[in-house]
């Protein structure tokens, strides 16, 4: 019996030592940037893109002399796409002395961990797109891409004014990504007087979209709006082509993603939609970035890699601007700031942040033609 307790006690002591280890940090450390991101669990794919984009950016920044003459150390923390873990990881990043936190992408996890960053006054550049992120009056949160409440109006305007749509069917992924997009989209439809005649959710990882497509087809809607993750988008599009659905198909960023095109092939042709950031944007900076990224990682980046890359350069630009690695000054400086590629090439496109941390850039209306994104129209900054 005694041995059992002894074991427990030893483990407890070992634990105490490990837990106390973060305190051993010394003063001469490089500037620490925390990358709190989904590296396992449901968000592993987007998180990996993000991490690679971020790593690429900071390698370049370090190679060019770092920040304020100091090198940058990127610390990676895996949220496991799990809210409690993400909170713990943000806390750990702060305990480890992170200057700025980048990530995560899943809105649900950001919802909780942004509070921790706020309490500790640490600026956080997130990849999340759910509307509420910037609506909570948190002065330390900044987006790296459009919130759904910004991108959906652009799409809605296109649907109602250019395409003349009166009725629409929505297919969405039943998780916080899909639900967030769906809710914003439906709200916009109401504003534009477009009727949502079918509202169809699907599961992440769903294999068979026959039932979804049967319902979409039978809904009588003039247009179909699809808001699913890449693989499910590809499966749905294939099924849509199979069942010979005639309605026009619209999407937001993900649906026209190169990944979806690779996976679904011809089935994506003719799909139109709004794209916030895309690796196929006809912007010289993005084209260069994609080349560098592909050379290093042997795969084509998605918009999450671009978000992280530009986020990293925003950190660089702001830090150099304020001339010190100060969290409060950073947060203050990034509000109502515009960075142009002329000032900082790594930002890729002219980007502004407003007083809530919301982002603003040009975006694109695209159509997929012959397995390539074709930009129909470049939409100006709001």
């Amino acid at each position: 019996m005694n041995r059992r307790y002894f074991l427990a006690l030893t483990a407890g002591a070992a634990f105490a030592m490990v837990a106390a280890a973060p305190f051993a940090a010394t003063a001469a450390d490089p500037i620490k940037i925390a990358n709190v991101i989904e590296l396992s669990g449901a968000g592993a794919t987007v998180g990996t893109n993000w991490r690679d984009g971020l790593t690429l950016a900071f390698e370049e920044i370090n190679a060019a002399g770092g920040l304020l003459g100091q090198s940058v150390e990127v610390l990676n923390y895996d949220t496991q796409t799990d809210a409690p873990t993400s909170r713990a990881m943000v806390q750990k990043a702060i305990d480890d002395g992170a200057y700025v936190i980048l990530g995560p992408i899943y809105s649900g996890t950001v919802k909780v961990n942004m509070l921790v960053a706020q309490q500790n006054g640490v600026p956080q550049l997130t990849g999340a797109e759910a509307p509420f992120i910037t609506g909570m009056g948190n002065p330390y949160i900044f987006r790296t891409s459009f919130g759904a409440q910004q991108s959906m109006p652009k799409l809605a305007k296109y649907l109602s004014e250019k395409a003349g749509t009166k009725t629409v069917a929505v297919a969405w992924s039943n998780d916080d990504f899909g639900k967030g997009g769906r809710d914003s989209f439906v709200a916009e439809m109401e504003k534009h007087g477009i009727q949502v005649v079918a509202d169809i959710s699907s599961e992440v990882g769903q294999a068979d979209f026959a039932a979804d497509v049967v319902k979409l087809k039978g809904s009588g809607a003039e247009a179909i709006f699809v808001y699913l993750h890449e693989e499910e988008s590809a499966r749905l599009l294939k099924e849509i082509r199979k069942q010979d659905v005639k309605q026009a198909i619209f999407g937001e960023t993900t649906l026209m993603n190169q990944k979806v095109i690779d996976l679904a092939g011809d089935a994506v042709n003719g799909v139109r939609g709004h794209v916030g950031l895309t690796a196929d944007a006809p912007v010289p900076g993005i084209e260069d970035f994609v080349k560098k990224f592909e050379a290093k990682y042997k795969y084509k980046p998605d918009h999450n890699a671009i978000k992280a890359y530009t986020g990293a350069y925003a950190v660089k630009f702001v830090t150099n601007k304020i001339g010190k690695a100060d969290r409060q000054a950073f947060a203050d400086a990034l509000h109502n700031l515009t960075i142009t590629p002329a000032e900082e090439p790594g930002i890729l496109m002219e980007t502004s942040w407003d007083d809530k941390g919301e982002i603003n850039r040009e975006s694109f209306l695209v159509e997929v033609v012959d397995g390539k994104q074709k930009v129909i129209e470049t939409l100006p900054k709001l």
């Binding site: 005694n2 837990a19 305190f23 796409t81 305990d95 509070l115 916080d176 639900k179």
Partner: protein, 324 residues
Amino acid sequence: MNARANFLAILAAVAVLAVLPSSLSTYSVYVLCSWMVFSIAAMGLNLTLGFAGQVSLAQAAFMGIGAYTTALMTMAGIPWPLAMIAAAVECFLIGLVLGYPALRVQHHFLAFVTLAFNALVFLVLRNEEWLTGGTYGVVGIPRPSVLGFSTNQQTGFYYVVFGFFLVLSAVLYGILRSPWGRAFQALRENPIRANSLGVDIRRMTLLAFAIGSAYGGIAGGLLGQLVQFIDPNSFTLTISLKVLLMVIVGGAGYFFGPYLGALLVILMPEFLRFTEGYYLMLYALLVIVLMISCPKGLLGIVDRIKLSIKLRQNPSATAWEQGK
């Protein structure tokens, strides 16, 4: 015997845990809190599975039910002690109901039923948005205030969790020492013989589920307050399997198994973090190696060492013990 030494060892451990937060970073205190919360959930499962022998893969579902109950009640202005009690009672009752299949089927079939139950609870939590907030979850769950002291600081809340941890450990110890504990163990080892000795196996089976589930509910309530956010994803089957892992790795049927198991499962990623992208692979490998080398869990090793000492002293110990 060495009951006194045991007692002193426990006292020392409690004392260490009581003073530890003052010398730890906020993050480490947070990790300690989640260790204790998951220990509570694992203690409950250890009662159901380790002592009473009823396989349950639904502990996360009860954590979820407990978490949502406490969160929604406290946010509606109901005092947190009432909310915690409500969560425990609710999970106790649902646990009773979930125990019914165990009267009909055992072992793997029971595992399947509880697994399906967990998946169903997830769907309800996600789909019934009017009540649970759906996919978005519930944010801003208040932390309890104790005797007028707020526990919004991590250390303050640590002592709330620590209090629950101690009391629930003591309660479980009391149950296991009582005739109920003996009946649970008899249920695991030989239900038919137990029945013929007057043990009402139906009642004990249901109770094993109900008490284990109530522990899950309390753990869930604490988890919600710790994270201050809950969403359906925190209570999936994966989390149930994680709690199961804690129980088995620590040693099912050993009182201290869940504590050790939870410590390991929560801290192992911490130890392995230096391997960056490989840490989950190493983690999985370690679990496999541990299972192969010691299927009865870590505390099973202790038993094995004791046996080998005994064998050295008395080589005639029976084959039955060696075969374990």
